[in-house]
Symmetry: D2
Subunit: 274 residues, 4 copies
Amino acid sequence: MLASGDLVFLWSPVKGDSFLVRLTPGSTQGSHLGQMKHDDIIGMEYGDVANTNKGSPFFVLRPTVGEYTRRIKRQTQVIFPKDSGFIIQHLNFGPGATVVECGTGSGGLATVFAHFVGDSGKVVTYDRREEFSNLAKSNAERWGVGHRIEFKVRDMSEGFDERCADAVFLDVQNPWDFIGVAHEALAWGRRIGVLVPTFNQIERTLVALSCFNFVDVQVLELLMRYYKTDPRRLRPDDTMIAHTGFLIFAAKARPVPSVSESAEDAPLVAAEDA
Amino acid sequence: MLASGDLVFLWSPVKGDSFLVRLTPGSTQGSHLGQMKHDDIIGMEYGDVANTNKGSPFFVLRPTVGEYTRRIKRQTQVIFPKDSGFIIQHLNFGPGATVVECGTGSGGLATVFAHFVGDSGKVVTYDRREEFSNLAKSNAERWGVGHRIEFKVRDMSEGFDERCADAVFLDVQNPWDFIGVAHEALAWGRRIGVLVPTFNQIERTLVALSCFNFVDVQVLELLMRYYKTDPRRLRPDDTMIAHTGFLIFAAKARPVPSVSESAEDAPLVAAEDA
Amino acid sequence: MLASGDLVFLWSPVKGDSFLVRLTPGSTQGSHLGQMKHDDIIGMEYGDVANTNKGSPFFVLRPTVGEYTRRIKRQTQVIFPKDSGFIIQHLNFGPGATVVECGTGSGGLATVFAHFVGDSGKVVTYDRREEFSNLAKSNAERWGVGHRIEFKVRDMSEGFDERCADAVFLDVQNPWDFIGVAHEALAWGRRIGVLVPTFNQIERTLVALSCFNFVDVQVLELLMRYYKTDPRRLRPDDTMIAHTGFLIFAAKARPVPSVSESAEDAPLVAAEDA
Amino acid sequence: MLASGDLVFLWSPVKGDSFLVRLTPGSTQGSHLGQMKHDDIIGMEYGDVANTNKGSPFFVLRPTVGEYTRRIKRQTQVIFPKDSGFIIQHLNFGPGATVVECGTGSGGLATVFAHFVGDSGKVVTYDRREEFSNLAKSNAERWGVGHRIEFKVRDMSEGFDERCADAVFLDVQNPWDFIGVAHEALAWGRRIGVLVPTFNQIERTLVALSCFNFVDVQVLELLMRYYKTDPRRLRPDDTMIAHTGFLIFAAKARPVPSVSESAEDAPLVAAEDA
């Protein structure tokens, strides 16, 4: 039974209007289809139908972490599920993982990361701007995962405190300046991830990754296309979001011994003889 | 220190050739760059460099669940990280979730789901073909998550055993035939997900979802574009995978009371008066 | 020197605001950057700068047929240069071609076709709605190609008057109903083109094309992605048009003699013996 | 009736295998479906069916300029109809246009341009490599439009001979080095087009365009997606060409008078008073 403090996703069949709401006694959710009293929803179950004062029905659904992070209060670029879903896969952010992130921003990514690392995992996120850190903390707590995240307010010139992290993620304007400290914080053979919106940033980040001998470098982007859901007139939506950001991934590895060194040690010849 | 039985991801700087290997004493991994002895890798750390007998270096990296599921032994369509990453977000597959899937196939999706639900969660997967179930079990165990999955060999006409599942996922040729039993198994206000390759299948699935009053129906696809990583010649790859499948999502909700019923009960008018 | 009646493309560096205008003495072009008097532009040359009464500059450029057809007065779906450019290539609409089209709509496609077939070519376009035919005629004349187009107002159940056309193009809701009459009008070995927005329409059109033995059937769509033009922050536009329509092409060919007929005539065996 | 020297497009229903062939008495076209004698096709009509010596049918279709340019003998990157179709629209390459191009390459673009400008138009194309010029000439003549093209072998440091061209197109590795001479050759208010494969090239080209006061700058790319044509299993092709090149367009315009000059001449104030 839905109680005060629960998050609900309210979805209307009229144009798919929707709201992600934290139930608060005495509060009202406005919409152009009318007003909904939170008190009417408290006591319902997920799946029930709430009506506005104008009689328009809204379905009371369980919110998803993807929807949540798209709708958090924010002062920075939203993170999209298409991107965060790929990140957690490519960086192995399952239960128990230790993740280091810079910068915190509005906390969207940190919230997703914390959702998937579970209570046995940990997210440490850095930002030099205290107001962002506070906003992000509030956003993560609202989703119930604030206790899994450590928020550090810090100028990154000092580097990360962590070592041997399972993954490091950079969501800053100048990621090339942080590749060195990210390398320090990351465990060997594990991966760094970077999100940038422009090609100029990709160029500079690739150069920096090369300087620190990162390997298995990948640059990619994800495009999501929605379709209209009338089965008699099935077609793509007329417009789409054409760009959110580019994802860069790379793994921390030891340098390959140079050829001259190899020649001295002659291991390659030996191997061939074997 | 890497030991017998560990999974390693071997990546070569030559054209990005790579292998996902389970270390087995006495075994050898072949490549067109030469042979690698597993015994040479056992005892290394992630991040180290292994050489083939021809002197070509391979970096020994930690494998990711995304890479793993793309490379499992399979008799069915591969599942791509771009798709599974979005699915786990939209279906909230974090630690502790209970997920029901049909069909098992080669177990790629079940393995990803089991990776993210953690030891406190559970995946139940159905397939009527025993050979698929066995292959999937072996694939999931190799990734270390087999104990989180229950494999059921079953003709689905009997329906699912589960009720109040956090999510149901259908990866079958005729998902429209399973919308009813999926509805039974799913908790109210939670979501079903469906993966199909053709538009004809989308059409029929949308009709079936409508029959069972599913709401917040979404049809979408994800396209992934890789870029070449030379920072002086930054450009998209020449070719890309243009199609893996369409994702359909919908939430289980109670029907809206019909207008005539509403008129009898007159709650809408009352609400407007309030 | 620009004279009364000339078409000019006015482009502002402020957000790329632009207008396609036919110069008319005494007229004024409004914009949120101020008013431009046509009389100020008459007597200028292409490339000159016209100022609004608020001092905002607009560059006076030569319009392109692509821009023109996107901006014509219309009651139907706009045709996009990405689509019409591919159509004229795949249907060989160079100077001298004879093209048959149904339906006329607002005349966007007919205008592009007439632009490229030149004075030695001819476009015949059919629509059963006289008001569309009149609008289309006015649009084509404004671009100076009205004399190359014959506008026929006709219920298509009677079929096309033309035979041996170089190409037939269908831009109607139910193209499957016109495949037969299109086949009649088209020369052997030449191509039909169809534009439809939904997958359901593709399905039915493919079936109809198959009934009339069309070959080399292609179904495709074109996506256009714009980039922001700041060289220091190069990136795709945030949103894009995700769907205009699907293009279907096919060639009119004689049926392959059936196997039994072939066996009687035995030409295949003879060929193998040779 | 098809005669010696005619171009035909041979299309097989088996996997869509196809050839673009110039009919030559005594010649044979090989395919993995068997051999076709040109002499068997000479005397046929478009739309007829030719059989290989193994009895496999090929349909004899009229070739399109789009297919032709994709299949010309070449030593350079192919030009795709999706790109050339947009170029001729955005640069107004209809009958009678005068077009200047650099470099010639294998002549694919020059052939398309010449196809659409007709006998009343003209294409002048430059390349410093004589072997390319010769190849391109042969390719254009094969399509029957060689007489509309002037091939100049020239180091471009001397600039173009032409002035007041309707359009200039650059298809070279370093277009930024040619923006100045392109500006000289182009008529006011008309457009330049540039094709480059990398983002680094876009960056440098944008800077050069800005130096010469080009306006209405657009950067875009076109993606083409094919669909499988079975109406019962309608779906996108599994793979696609993900990148051919980026298109840059801009118009030649006079500089806007600077603010200080304007202030002296005070035309803006006068305009506001009016």
